[in-house]
């Protein structure tokens, strides 16, 4: 049922609504353009994360590894005088791709809770390396750059131009994710998630499928990370910190795992909440509110916002009607269920 929103006409409609929101976002009163850029980047990483969690059931607590790592690589490329935006992004994405292949090969050896703990721990290695390679990464101070580079001759200094490029990337990334999860490959992932032993017994090398999903997710997360750091013209410690991995998990589940579009809503909500809460007396202790909301979601609304809505609309128990032959018995109404 999670595919209800993703497939076919309904999926296109949902995507179109979100795209329309994205197109007008910078013109909504009170929305800062840099906020909008961050939002779109986080939406993309949440989509990437949902490809993994929503469709393989693997919970990575280390996606900051790809998001932050690729962000650093792209920033380092530009900081070293190669002011080509596509090259910087490509370098970051390549890094995330190789890294996710290595980490994934290791982590898929364990599943469930262990997968989460292992990805979390491995991400810490990069975190400390970034801190110690001060010559390259700027260490604790982070790495500021003066330009986002040029995009085939086009300057990206204008925030609005950059926003629409990032939005285009989100559309591409989401289309890619939709394509993957609705493909035969996605069907195998679904089968594995439902019953791994059975998927194995019909001949699928489930570890390879998990690894493939992990690499796609990690690479896409890296892509989002490069857009984020270049957008901010800064790669900092926050990006590789495990709290960022946690934030990605929250956005995705808040929106609704396995719904692809849900995590976009989740990321938008998370970013907005974070923004508003930080303006209150709580200040930068926004995790107090985020944690409370996330705890409530885990306890009471595990399908996430979009997931719960989908569930209410499509998964309702069928209406009970009187049986044609025995009027005293109520049976589920199946008269309109020819879909």
């Amino acid at each position: 049922m999670t595919l209800a929103l993703i497939r076919g006409r309904r999926g296109l409609a949902a995507g179109a609504v979100l795209l329309a929101c994205g197109l007008v976002l910078p013109f909504v009163p009170g929305v800062y353009i840099v906020f909008a850029i961050d939002l779109v980047c986080f939406a993309l990483v949440a989509v990437a994360f949902d490809m993994l969690l929503g469709f393989t059931g693997l919970l990575s607590f280390g996606h900051a590894l790809f998001w932050g790592g690729a962000g650093y690589v792209a920033t380092i490329v530009i900081a070293n005088g190669i002011t080509s935006f596509p090259l910087a992004v490509l370098a970051g994405v390549a890094y995330a791709c190789v890294l996710s292949l290595v980490v994934g090969a290791l982590a898929v050896r364990r599943s469930g809770i262990f997968f989460a703990m292992i990805t979390l721990a491995i991400a810490q290695i990069q975190y400390f390396v970034v801190f110690q390679l001060t010559d390259v990464t700027g260490g604790e101070n982070g790495l500021p750059i003066t330009t986002r580079g040029t995009f085939f001759g086009l300057s990206l200094a204008n925030d609005f131009v950059y926003y629409y490029i990032a939005l285009g990337a989100l559309v591409l990334g989401t289309a890619f994710a939709v394509r993957v999860v609705t493909s035969p490959f996605g069907a195998v992932l679904a089968a594995m998630r439902e019953n791994e032993t059975r998927a194995k017994s019909v001949g699928y090398d489930t570890d390879r499928f998990k690894l493939a999903a992990f690499v796609m997710s990690g690479t896409l997360a890296g892509f989002a990370g490069t857009l984020y750091t270049l957008g901010n013209r800064f790669a900092g410690q926050d990006g590789v910190d495990w709290h960022t991995s946690g934030a990605i998990v929250i956005m995705t589940i808040l929106g609704g795992i396995g719904t692809i579009y849900g995590p976009i809503v989740g990321a938008a909500l998370y970013q907005s909440l974070d923004f508003f809460v930080s303006k209150t007396a709580i200040g930068d202790k926004t995790n107090l509110v985020m944690g409370l909301i996330f705890a409530i979601v885990i306890l009471a609304a595990r399908r996430g916002i979009v997931g719960e809505i989908l569930h209410r609309v499509f998964d309702r128990a069928p209406r009970l009607v009187e049986d044609e032959d025995r009027p005293d018995v109520l049976v589920p109404d199946v008269s309109h269920e020819a879909i």
Partner: protein
């Protein structure tokens, strides 16, 4: 590189101190996992709370250190008990990942709540006068308090091991861990055992927090990095194995400290590198048996 024998010995002792904290935390994590099949992400936060109970106890009530060693685990254990019976319990029938996510949410709330209450910067906690100064061990001179930490950690770990492996209570806990249904059929209240086990596990973390208070600054984020190190350690030792967790805790403390002598930049990452090697060659952990349901 400084390889004088004296420095090396000092580093090994430092490693045992860190290892003692890892062992206490890994022990609690393993006991909880063994019984509840959940990984308590909030274990580091409980450790931090233990330190703050000692700190505020001293500030507000002149609570001495040795009293804090008793009071803080009780307070933290009670908090854990409340958390388990009111909220965590609702998630047991679901995928264990939801427990991990819930305790992760708890980390965010506890940590930022504490930052709001106490400020993000740390406060020092005085070493008890009785344990101040240094002791001459013959071959080296080492701070008395740190020797005390090593001794207490070893004692507590050994005591917990004996209770679980040898006592009637331990037998019930092990029975409830292996076959909850059958244990209930014998008239043992497994629900209370579950709550008690969770409370005891986090009380151990609170205890470790008090021990750490004079050693480091008491800060809201002090549990932040130690919990990830502890995760790596239980992966290495085999989650759910008490012996494995404690051994891996002490061993990795020492390995990281000695590694720092040989090549200083590696000190923070060595535990994770060892974890990677263990996953490569023995995916279930050094003391772990077949994959447990998780």
């Amino acid at each position: 590189m400084n390889l004088s024998p004296d420095y090396l010995v000092t580093q090994i002792f430092n490693g045992l101190v860190n290892g003692g904290f890892y062992a206490l935390l890994a022990l609690g994590l393993s006991i909880i996992f063994g019984m509840l099949r959940i990984v308590n992400f909030a274990h580091g936060a409980m450790y931090m709370l233990g330190a703050f109970v000692a700190y505020y106890g001293a500030q507000l009530f002149h609570l001495p250190f040795f009293a804090a060693l008793v009071v803080a685990p009780i307070v933290v254990g009670a908090f854990g008990f409340a958390l388990e019976t009111t909220l965590l319990r609702r998630l047991y029938d679901l995928d264990p990942l939801y427990n991990l996510l819930f305790t992760f949410a708890a980390v965010l709330v506890i940590e930022d709540g504490m930052k709001l209450a106490a400020g993000a910067l740390g406060s020092p906690y005085a070493t008890p006068a009785l344990l101040d100064g240094a002791t001459n061990l013959g071959f080296t001179i080492y701070p008395t308090y740190r020797l005390f930490v090593i001794g207490v950690c070893v004692l507590v770990c050994a005591a917990v091991y004996v209770v679980i492996e040898r006592s009637p209570l331990g037998a019930r806990i092990r029975a409830a861990t292996e076959k909850p249904e059958l244990t209930r059929a014998f008239g043992i209240d497994t629900r209370r055992l579950v709550s008690g086990t969770f409370a005891f596990g986090v009380a151990l973390a609170g205890f470790a927090g008090v021990l750490a208070a004079p050693n480091t600054n008491v800060t809201p984020s002090m549990g932040d990095s130690i919990i990830i190190n502890t995760f790596a350690i239980v992966v290495i030792g085999g989650l759910g194995s008490i012996l494995g967790s404690v051994t891996a805790g002490f061993a990795l403390g020492v390995i990281a400290a000695v590694g720092a002598v040989v090549y200083p930049p590696i000190s923070n990452t060595l535990i994770f590198i060892v974890m990677v090697l263990v996953i490569l060659f023995r995916p279930t952990g050094l003391f772990g048996t077949a994959e447990r349901s998780a």
